[in-house]
Symmetry: C2
């Protein structure tokens, strides 16, 4: 009897949240390209909600850095320069290595088991070759990693950074051979965590991101991000 209301509480996600997710998804998927203007009225009829919900959702995305608002010209999807990308990967390396270390030193055994499972799922997804499955699996891995770090602030910040990486419209994994290396690196990270070797886990995380950064930045310097107009 008491379990039925779960479905009901599910639906109490306010409209604003739904709009947020829709927009986030639209940006991540590339439907909205960096630089593109987001006209309020268009979004309203596109999503089918009133201005209030749209505007509040936009404020949220702006706070996350996914969009940038110019006074009296409205929001545009954020662009990210080469230099900013470099800085982004730099902090990401710092925070993820911290998360890895904390996980190794403070994570519960259950969390380690869960982490290993996400690694296996990631390997399977990589073999399958399905892009969406790979992204899902990688997201699950990071989610697990951040949760195990037992630091809500780190989790928040890393989530925000991950979202912004998608603005680059290129995961380092689209590079040939990169995916295989990525699988290997992640397996190593999980192994170090399972062995409770915090320093090694941190070093591996750092290295993992640094490699991804190098690939992404190299690509970026050759193929500038395609912006809308």
């Amino acid at each position: 009897m008491g379990t039925i209301d779960l479905q009901i509480t599910r639906q109490n996600a306010s409209l604003r949240i739904l709009v947020e997710d829709k927009l986030r998804q639209a940006i991540s998927s590339g439907r909205f390209k960096p630089g593109q203007r987001l006209v309020e009225r268009e979004l309203c009829e596109l999503i089918g909600v009133g201005r209030t919900s749209v505007r509040e959702a936009l404020r949220q995305l702006e706070a996350e850095g996914l969009i940038t608002s110019y006074p009296h010209r409205g929001p545009v999807v954020s662009t990210i320069s080469y230099e900013e990308a470099r800085q982004l990967y730099s902090v990401r390396a710092l925070l993820e290595s911290f998360a890895g270390q904390e996980f190794a030193e403070n994570g519960s055994n259950e969390e380690i088991v869960a982490l290993l499972e996400t690694v296996e799922a990631f390997e399977a997804a990589a073999k399958s070759g399905s892009g969406t499955r790979i992204i899902e699996a990688k997201t699950a891995f990071y989610d697990c990693l951040m949760t195990g770090s037992k630091n809500v602030f780190v989790k928040q910040m890393l989530t925000s950074l991950h979202n912004r990486v998608t603005l680059l419209r290129m995961t380092s994994m689209t590079q040939p051979g990169r995916l295989q290396n990525s699988v290997f690196e992640i397996r190593e990270i999980a192994a170090a965590i399972a062995l409770r070797d915090g320093d090694r886990a941190a070093a591996l995380c750092k290295r993992h991101i640094e490699i991804a950064a190098k690939v992404a930045l190299d690509y970026l310097s050759k193929n500038p991000v395609e912006t809308s107009e």
Copy 2:
């Protein structure tokens, strides 16, 4: 005395931003205590703006973590538990030591000069004993430190963390003798940066925050944060 028209014509800051700042300030200053409910209508007539502006400002503050919204009950000034405070100081140590290291290794000479000036201002403020001057000077120091780190993401994140620290309603500097030590530590940090000794700067920053964390957490475990009702 022809300055009057400046105030009116210069509304380049949108109303929403002004409301944000007002609320942020009200929370930081303790006018709104953690746990206190923020009723929309009250805020509207208190600040003298419409609901639109208030609501959008609230969304922004929510994204920053300064307030927490419960569905159909509205926003509440965030409370921060002992465990969260510990996590907060933990990330702060990580990010600030990173900032210190980057500053030492990549900061310009002009920025170093500016940093040293903020240190002197801080010392002067400490001697004066004026609470507001001390806070201002410390803010200026951190602002300089973050800018010199040449990483907008770090700056953003640290600013957010600093804002949230004020929710604890207690700067570690209210403890006897702590202010003097703080002055000394900051002088050491700046000195290390001026000498371009990145590792030492990082270590000193880390230590500085860890001490502040210890003081704050000890205080917190004895005097729980006073919340409104």
